[in-house]
Symmetry: C2
Subunit: 197 residues, 2 copies
C-alpha cells in the first residue's frame, strides 16, 4: 500500500518543486500545512495565486510591478540607470538605500554555451530608453562571473559610443574578510584595482 | 519605499511560516512561484487547500485519513496495536514494510511541564479499542525521550492488568555506528539490554 494518503502525497510533491527542498523537508512543510487552521491554509493558498496573477513586469525597466510601470520608474530620475540581471538583484540593491536612480532588468545574461545571445535578453529595451535622452550614466551591475562580465562588456561597447558614461561595480575583497581567507580571484582583483589613499 | 511589491511581500510572509524557513529562503521560494506557469501555481495552491480540506483523522486510530476510517484500520488485523505519538511516526514505520498490525496515534505525549496530562492525549480511545477485545499485544513506540518513556510507562501500567502483552521498541546503539562514536546513553542502554547469542 502507498505510504501517504493522496492529498498529503500531492502536497509533498508540490513542495518538492521548490528549490533545495527534498522529500524530508517537503514532508515537514506538508505537516505544517495540515496543522494550520483553515483560514491560514486559505491565505497561504491565495498568496500563491495572487502573486502569480498580480506580479507583472514593468514596461520600462523589466522589474517586478503590480501595474504597467513600476513604482521606481514612476518617481525617480532616470539620469542614472543601473543594469542588473534579474528582478531580485533590484531588491538586493534597494535594501541598501544607497542608489537613487532607476534600474534596467536584462532577465538573463549573454551565455553562448546555453544558447543565450544578445537578442535573447532585454538589451534592446535599454538602448531604446537611452535613445529617448536624459540618461547620463549607466552602471553595469551584472554578476561578477564570466557571463556577467561578458554582458557588461558587450553592453558598454554599445553605449559608450553614444557619449554616455558607463561604470561597473567595484570588485575586491569583501569588507570584514581576513586577507588569509579571501578567495584568490577577489584578492588578485583587489591588487589590480588598488586606490591611492 | 517598501522593498517588495505587495503580492510578493505577502507570499514571502506566508512561506516564512513554514518550519525552518527564514527570510532568504522564503524569498527564494517566492521567486520560484513567480517563475512557475499559471497552471503550476494553480495546482500548488489547490494542493494546499485540498490537503487541509481532505485530510481528516481516522475515528479508530487517529491516523491521517481521507474518510472516516483509515485504510490501515479497514484491512488489517487489530491483534497487534502499535502506539505512536504522531501520524508522521506511522509513516516512518510503514516505510519499513515490517509491521503488519494497526496503529494508535496519541497526538502527543504526557508532559507535565507543558501542562499535558494523560487526559489531553488519546489514551481513552486506546482503552476503548482494547475493551472491545481482540487485542493481544500493544507495542509502545513513543520516542525514547523523557516524555515518550513516561507515556509508555503510564499506558503499560493501565493495560498490563487487563492481561495484554505490552512491549517497547528496543533501544541500543544504531546499526552501522562505531562504538567510539555512539552516544553514551544509547551505549549504556545497549549494555543493560544485552542479549544472549
Amino acid at each position: 500500500m502507498k505510504v501517504y494518503i493522496e492529498p498529503i502525497g500531492k502536497l509533498i510533491n508540490e513542495f518538492s518543486k521548490l528549490p533545495g527542498v527534498g522529500a524530508k523537508t517537503a514532508q515537514r512543510y506538508a505537516y505544517k500545512i495540515i496543522n494550520m487552521s483553515e483560514e491560514e491554509a486559505q491565505s497561504f493558498s491565495e498568496a500563491i495565486i495572487n502573486a502569480k496573477k498580480n506580479v507583472h513586469y514593468c514596461k520600462v525597466c523589466g522589474n517586478f510591478s503590480e501595474g504597467g510601470i513600476c513604482d521606481i520608474c514612476k518617481i525617480r530620475s532616470s539620469e542614472t540607470v543601473c543594469v542588473v540581471k534579474e528582478p531580485k538583484d533590484v531588491i538586493a540593491i534597494e535594501k541598501l538605500n544607497e542608489f537613487n536612480g532607476v534600474y534596467h532588468v536584462l532577465h538573463g545574461t549573454i551565455s553562448p554555451l546555453d544558447g543565450i545571445g544578445p537578442d535573447d535578453i532585454n538589451i534592446k529595451g535599454l538602448l531604446e530608453r537611452i535613445s529617448h535622452g536624459g540618461v547620463k550614466e549607466v552602471i553595469m551591475a551584472t554578476n561578477p562571473d564570466v557571463e556577467g562580465e561578458a554582458t557588461a562588456m558587450y553592453i558598454s561597447n554599445l553605449i559608450k559610443p553614444l557619449g554616455i558614461k558607463v561604470t561597473r561595480l567595484a570588485h575586491g575583497i569583501p569588507i570584514g574578510t581576513d586577507l588569509e581567507y579571501a578567495d584568490e580571484v577577489s584578492l588578485a582583483r583587489a591588487f589590480v584595482d588598488r586606490k591611492t589613499i
